[in-house]
């Protein structure tokens, strides 16, 4: 049985404490296969310590984030770029 996962949106809170711009709406390129897409489309697994986001195309690890009481560990080596933009605030 394959492990279930949630969408990249789930990383929004943890990454929102680090970045001033929303990372889930940002475009990221997978360092493994080159796929470009919103981080919100990634497959997020939360069974491990912290959370792991994998590419929706090739399942390579894009992001790992582990929040400890006194620090945050962030591994972005699976992303070869991130394109962030400030979102309009109007509803």
């Amino acid at each position: 049985m394959t492990e279930t996962w949630v969408d990249g949106n789930a990383l929004g809170g943890a990454l929102g404490e680090i970045f001033a711009m929303d990372v889930t709406a940002a475009l990221g390129r997978c360092a493994g296969c080159g796929r470009v897409g919103p981080v919100g489309e990634a497959q997020v697994f939360t069974r491990a310590a912290g959370a792991v986001a994998r590419c929706a195309g090739c399942e390579s690890v894009l992001i790992r984030v582990v929040t400890a009481p006194d620090r945050v560990f962030l591994d972005l080596h699976g992303l070869s770029f991130l394109e962030l933009r400030p979102a309009p605030a109007t509803p």
């Binding site: 929004g12 809170g13 711009m21 889930t24 709406a25 919103p38 919100g40 605030a89 509803p91």
Partner: protein
């Protein structure tokens, strides 16, 4: 800088429960007063953190149910048996209680009332919550953007917001709602019980030619099935936004 968010990182804030309103036998809406809350977008979520007296702390994500309103946000919580957070929020939290909350979160699964394209919302169970925020935001903004909702529930008693949706279909011009009852259809309902399938998506949704914006929210398997059916029906995968619940919810 009108129309541009002030950029700032998220941090935890303390909210006070203003109201606890039952929605179904297992779901409640909590209205929270948050002095620092300015606005949010329909579809965003918050993280709620509970800390026990011994310092053990745990958190879960909940979709925002309400349209934007300064100082106030509503979440609807479905009780997950054996959950660590939802039983407290559903059964214990009462007006005056304080909760730690972080948000609003997410810029991906969001709908803005200024978007002109027709909208299709597909909800499985409590996946209705962020989609209800979209219907409420549409009404609050006076938007006439055509919006159709397909809502899959086990039976009529499991439908959250059923009365309000009935009223909105009557009063909010251009909002349609259709139900898929997976186990028990209501008496006198003109249809058969069953899951959301291609026929239901065709009848209750939009043709792919109209290039609607599509938001699908529900349990992982539901979202997977619906997203695949929509792509098979010719919808552009890039226009389908999804939000899956985790295996534990909680």
């Amino acid at each position: 800088m009108a129309g541009t968010a002030v950029l700032r990182r998220l941090s935890w804030q303390v909210g006070t429960v203003a109201e606890s309103r039952p929605e179904t036998a297992t779901a409640v809406t909590l209205a929270l007063d948050l002095p620092e809350w300015t606005t949010h977008l329909a579809g965003q979520h918050v993280d709620v953190r509970l800390t026990a007296p011994d310092g053990y702390s745990t958190q879960r994500s909940y979709s925002i149910a309400s349209a934007p309103s300064p100082g106030r946000v509503e979440i609807t919580v479905q009780r997950v048996e054996d959950g660590e957070v939802s039983p407290y929020l559903v059964d214990v939290a009462r007006p005056g209680d304080e909760l730690e909350l972080r948000g609003p979160i997410g810029g991906y699964f969001v709908w803005r009332a200024a978007d002109p394209e027709p909208v299709l919302l597909v909800a499985g169970g409590s996946g209705i919550v962020p989609l209800m925020a979209m219907a409420r935001t549409r009404a609050a903004a006076g938007s006439r953007t055509p919006m159709r909702l397909i809502y899959s529930v086990r039976g009529p008693e499991d439908a959250i917001y059923a009365d309000e949706l009935r009223r909105r279909v009557r009063d909010d011009h251009g909002l349609d709602v259709s139900y898929a009852y997976t186990r028990r259809a209501p008496d006198g309902w003109n249809g058969v019980a069953g899951r959301v399938d291609a026929a239901r998506l065709g009848a209750g949704g939009w043709p792919a030619d109209l290039a609607p914006r599509i938001f699908v929210c529900g349990p992982t398997g539901f979202v997977e099935t619906v997203a695949d059916l929509l792509v098979d029906a010719g919808h552009d995968p890039g226009r389908i936004r999804t939000e899956r619940f985790g295996p534990t919810g909680g």
